[in-house]
Assembly symmetry: C2
């Protein structure tokens, strides 16, 4: 087994967010379902961009946000994902490296442009996402470096990886390498519609032990088990996976393991500005806690802190040091 | 004289801001003078970008920010400036049009990339700017459409236009067209170092009556008259131009005319987040007030309100409706 070089390595779609504030009627007019992620083609991307308001561009991508969060806690973090060698690809690369994340996946030199997500933030702080996958579709098993994967304590994968055609093979390859090196494999279910697209595959990953830890929010959990009964879904989750962390927005989260269910409160906020990244940053804190061998309660508290930070500003990456934030809140890390 | 079609038309460098938070020692290490704008070449742009932290990209450009502010007050606004037909040029164009500003200057199809400004924001909220002019250098008198200029009640020009080689000719052409159509011509002095580069030209524009209204902050005014004596500088300004608006950060502003000096307070803020755009948005409110025939006090109050909005978030364009803000503050517009 190679020496442990990273606390957490994430694999996901490398995306730049194009964020605009909007009113609810814009979503209705454009047939968007509030709070979800829709995949769009380039023509729809252009149409949405043309009609949306003045925007801000900030690096995003679900797993990439999580990994930037892990690094902000002071851990050793790495990311694998595909950009193109264009302006946005350069921005994505700059931003994740500037966040102290190791990022060495070679950019595509031809094919579609770097992926972008048009994020519409409504006055209630909820975000509605429209993703043009672009170059992220070119992530293949060849981009999975065995030495790199095996050198990470935890490998973190996003469910969204099942959308690009070859990325799921990259996902499977990475999970197998990690387990061969006796590492932990974590998966976020990403989005309720994503679960709906790949329900059987995700359940199969869980039940075969290809993943050890699941992150889900309530809607994703309900979608996974196709039940409106929360307790039944939690019970099913406990049977299917070693460890689950289910987030419930302002109601906090539940950490589900074979031994127990642990309920942890959300961290207080002053004002919800932009919910983008809440789940991503919860995962960051939780993974960081696990990597540092914290108990589940502490890991979940770290997740709650990070989520609270990111929803109080525009964009899905932390703007303040999560390490300092954790220390100010007397969480041992 | 053509029919009045716009309240305010601005001409300036079309720039996208690349903004990162930083500590003061970054500025020292890179030889930057805090609170000022430095012109940089592409190699230095790359070097600064490589070493700065994770960043946010938001459309900027001094006069463009002002014009976006004018439009946010509900006025009819237009902008003239040069981008390239590349990713950032598309973003600049999208953002200013999405702010309801008429923007029809054709983009350059070759030559350098769209201009960008690397903005470093220190913990005190102060901003230090590094501008790569890129495609903005290709603004020429051919981009000045006589009908468009003559159709605006006020033509607003930025001192920064004296940096690109041919833009000052575009500036002179626009000012002459405006005066031939009996319009008001306004100039912002932009930056103390910019004043230092073009002091004689700026004084000449004022003394020959090529400009009617001057915007300056304290540092620019001291630089213009090369005196540390504020009162002496104010007196000199009154002799040189019909109307002057001098901003003094939290101390408010002074409106200087042949008739009187009027002191107007700054608007209260909760927290200074990013000073970028304070002067630009003051100008937006003041110009809007003048276009709507408000008195100088009211125009300055509108400027103070707009400046207070923009310094409480990242980026130099308003995030809330300035029209609503003015109405909430019972300012007649």
């Amino acid at each position: 087994m190679p020496a442990q070089q990273f606390d957490v390595l994430g694999i996901g779609n490398a995306i730049v967010d194009v964020i605009a504030r909007t009113e609810d009627d814009f979503l209705i007019k454009h047939g968007m379902q509030k709070g979800t992620m829709a995949l769009i083609d380039e023509a729809r991307a252009e149409a949405i961009y043309d009609s949306m308001g003045p925007s801000t561009q900030i690096s995003g991508g679900s797993a990439a946000n999580t990994i930037a969060g892990v690094a902000s806690f002071g851990a050793r973090a790495a990311f694998v994902g595909k950009v193109k060698a264009d302006w946005l690809g350069r921005a994505f690369t700059h931003d994740i490296r500037a966040a102290s994340v190791a990022f060495t996946t070679p950019p595509a030199t031809d094919g579609p442009q770097t992926a972008r997500c048009y994020v519409l933030v409504t006055p209630d702080g909820e975000r509605t996402m429209n993703t043009y996958l672009g170059a992220a579709q070119n992530l293949t098993p060849d981009d999975i470096d065995e030495r790199l994967i095996a050198a990470a304590e935890i490998v973190y994968l996003e469910g969204y990886l099942w959308d690009p055609p070859q990325a799921k093979e990259a996902f499977r390859k990475a999970a197998a390498i990690a387990h061969a090196a006796d590492r932990l494999v974590a998966l976020t279910l990403s989005d309720a519609f994503c679960v709906d697209r790949y329900r059987d595959e995700f359940l199969n990953l869980m039940r075969t032990g290809a993943v050890d830890l699941i992150f889900a929010n309530e809607r994703e959990l309900h979608s996974l088990y196709q039940t409106p009964d929360f307790d039944a879904a939690i019970k099913a989750l406990r049977d299917d996976v070693k460890l689950g962390a289910v987030t419930r927005s302002e109601k906090g989260c539940i950490v589900v393991s074979r031994k127990s269910n642990e309920v942890v409160e959300a961290a207080p906020i002053e004002k919800l500005v932009d919910a983008t990244g809440a789940g991503d940053l919860f995962a960051a804190g939780f993974l960081f806690g696990l990597a540092r061998e914290a108990d589940h309660w502490t890991a979940a508290r770290l997740g709650a802190l990070a989520a609270a930070e990111v929803i109080q500003h525009l964009g899905a990456r932390p703007e303040t040091s999560l390490k300092d934030l954790a220390q100010d809140n007397v969480l041992p890390i």
